[in-house]
């Protein structure tokens, strides 16, 4: 139609401004990043704490704080990916405990700890696969499937141990090194954590396989129409989350030198909270590893700070909850304004 030549007239000036526009967009993007708000809030907490306590900004304290959230952080990575794909997993706590118990029992029965750990992680992946089966093939909701598995896995922990923690003091030192050793000044636990985070963050943002996770979670129908096997994707993320719980369980085992059948009760809420604070949506399609990890850090720094300041235990919960609520509120407004 007649408009076409006119459209061309439009094009030219547009093209010119495009390159400057793009550079501007990048800067804007950085500011618009969901994570910026969280970083600011955490920074504010750090500054406040370093005034409140001279011990806060010490290397040892930072190290201890990092150790306290690193392993849970691995589970958070799995949960975030699962949330992005539109799922949820309440069984993370029990599956983490089960990994310890399986590896511990195998080790006590004479299997070498590395093989035992590998088998335990495999078993956790298998549990994830079973959940994936019930979700994708049978068609049940993640929530209810993982709730049932949470109960079953806890039961398996109790059955395997008679409810008693397994003492694994005899684990060889090279195995305990995973949980207790350091390379240079940096604890191995933190190195593992950073590797998992960096790898999963990169993959989630940049690889074609993990992009399908976003597509599936954002609109399963649209993804299916584009030929994506959405059930495979959900099956995969469900399995991956449980497998990462397995990894976390093994690290805990190496770290504490014991397998505790009651470990991780209530952990699921903490883990989901971290992911949600970091921008993951419970309805799928959005979320970043970086954000989720910032969420873990936020929750962890608050807990550590309250301990460091020796706040009365009867006040701690009230303060912790209030800080959580304020943090997400501030973050929400920071995000809103930036848009």
């Amino acid at each position: 139609m007649t408009q076409e030549p006119k459209a061309a007239v439009f094009d030219d000036p547009d093209r010119q401004s495009q390159s400057t526009n793009r550079a501007l967009n990048r800067v804007k993007k950085l500011f618009r990043m969901r994570e910026t708000g969280l970083v600011l809030i955490i920074l504010a907490l750090f500054i406040a704490m370093s005034f409140a306590s001279p011990y806060f900004l010490t290397w040892v304290n930072m190290r201890a704080m990092a150790m306290a959230f690193a392993v849970e952080g691995i589970v958070v990575v799995g949960m975030t990916i699962l949330l992005i794909s539109g799922g949820i997993d309440l069984s993370v706590g029990s599956v983490t405990a089960l990994a310890m118990v399986i590896a511990g029992l195998l080790f006590l029965s004479g299997v070498d700890p590395w093989t035992a750990s590998a088998l335990a992680i495999l078993a956790c992946a298998a549990i994830g696969a079973i959940m994936g089966f019930f979700v994708t093939v049978v068609g049940l909701h993640h929530f209810i499937v993982s709730l049932a598995v949470m109960v079953i896995a806890r039961g398996a922990c109790l059955l395997g141990t008679g409810g008693r923690p397994l003492g694994l003091y005899t684990l060889p030192p090279e195995f305990k090194f995973i949980g207790q050793g350091s390379i240079g000044v940096i604890p191995v636990v933190i190195i593992i954590f950073l590797v998992v985070v960096a790898a999963s963050d990169f993959m989630l943002r940049r690889t074609t396989i993990f992009r399908k996770v976003f597509y599936t979670g954002s609109n399963e129908k649209a993804a299916a129409y584009s030929g994506i096997r959405t059930k495979h994707v959900v099956f995969f993320t469900t399995t991956l989350c449980s497998a990462l719980c397995g990894v976390a369980g093994i690290i805990y085992m190496a770290r504490f030198g014991s397998a505790q059948p009651t470990f991780g009760i209530g952990m699921e809420l903490n883990v989901i909270a971290a992911a949600v604070i970091g921008g993951a949506s419970l309805s799928g399609g959005t979320g970043t590893i970086l954000g989720a990890i910032l969420g873990v850090i936020l929750l962890s720094v608050v807990s550590s700070s309250l301990a460091l300041l020796d706040v009365s235990v009867y006040w701690q919960d009230i303060i912790r909850g209030s800080i959580l609520l304020s943090a997400v509120t501030i973050d929400h407004y920071l995000n809103k304004r930036r848009r």
Binding site: S53, Y55, F56, T58, V60, N61, A64, M65, M67, A68, V71, E72, L158, G162, G163, R164, P165, L166, G167, L168, Y169, Q180, Y252, R255, F256, G257, S258, Q260, P261, T262, F263, I265, S300, S303, S304, S305, A307, L308, L309, D310, S312, V313, Y314, Q316
Partner: protein, 318 residues
């Protein structure tokens, strides 16, 4: 033996059953208690059942208690999760001919005939004296706790008030909740160590948190005396390795054994005619307000005897 049993009054009728009812029934604490309960029962030719709810949920425990009553056992050894909610069910049981004895937690306003327990005050006092003995009477100490769980609360508050009263120069520098979560205990201990470089001792009312606390102390290479109540295989190993100074473990076997015996006696009160008004007032003549089952002190030297997994080898847990 059957001829002999017919003669002794300390013997059950065939099929006479006693139940032990608890909350969080998979908790390992109950295991040696039930073994003691069972050993006494076997000696007297009685049947036993382990019952309760796997949950930390008072309504479920009451429901399970009421279901026990449906079976009309001779008696129930009960660990009431909360005291007052059990008053009515216990009274109803006793009015219905089922004897009830409480252990480890009490329902003092009910008609239960006996209460067997560890003396948490004695444990706390012992721990306090030991701490002072080891690090002197003007040092810094801290505690981990589990607010809301009564026996743990008692172990902590009793120690604090004992210290305050007898050793006013002892300084409490940290009081953190770990709620039996080893990672939370790790976090809390690490922070306390940061804030208090001169921390001398740590008292922990249960073993799960002790595992996390030890990890933090070892990592910080701090010289802190750790004492805790209860025991797990891992804390045992830490005791053997000298990372934990000492643990105080309630004598669970005695708790179960005495629990059974008092229950049996309450159910067979016809063998006992004491000098009081029970006949006119209508209460059970076997009334035992309080039995202390005592506690063991676990150190490097005797730690090997406290491996529950070793103890349970070849025994039936149920």
């Amino acid at each position: 033996p059957s001829a002999a049993s017919a003669q002794s009054k300390f013997q059950c009728e065939p099929g006479e059953t006693y139940i032990m009812n608890v909350m969080v029934s998979a908790h390992p604490y109950w295991v040696p208690v039930y073994q003691g309960f069972k050993q006494a029962a076997e000696a007297m030719g009685c049947e036993t059942v382990f019952s309760g709810t796997p949950d930390y949920d008072i309504t479920k425990q009451i429901a399970s208690f009421e279901q026990d009553l449906v079976k009309q056992p001779a008696g129930i050894l009960l660990h009431p999760m909360q005291s007052d909610p059990f008053i009515e069910p216990i009274d109803r049981a006793i009015d219905g001919g089922v004897e009830v004895v409480t252990f480890a937690a009490d329902s003092p306003n009910s008609k239960r005939t006996a209460y067997i327990t560890s003396d948490n005050l004695a444990e706390a006092k012992f721990a306090a004296e030991e701490i002072v003995k080891q690090i002197g009477d003007s040092a810094e100490y801290a505690v981990l706790e589990n607010p809301g769980q009564s026996n743990h609360d008692l172990r902590v508050t009793a120690l604090l008030s004992y210290m305050e009263e007898h050793y006013p120069n002892m300084k409490l520098v940290g009081r953190q909740a770990s709620n039996q979560d080893s990672n939370a205990a790790y976090r809390a201990t690490a922070s306390m160590l940061q804030a208090n470089p001169n921390l001398g001792a740590l008292w922990i009312p249960e073993a799960g948190s002790a595992e996390g606390a030890v990890a933090a102390v070892l990592e910080a290479k701090a010289d802190v005396l750790i004492m805790h109540a209860d025991v797990t295989p891992t804390t045992l190993e830490h005791i053997k390795a000298g990372n934990i100074h000492m643990a105080l473990n309630p004598n669970q076997g005695m708790q179960g054994f005495m629990g059974f015996v008092s229950l049996f006696m309450a159910a067979h009160s016809d063998m006992f005619d004491p000098f009081n008004d029970y006949k006119v007032s209508g209460f059970n003549p076997v009334q035992i307000p309080y039995v202390d089952n005592g506690f063991s002190v676990i150190t490097k030297d005797n730690a090997d005897s406290f491996d529950l997994n070793a103890y349970m080898e070849g025994r039936d847990p149920s």
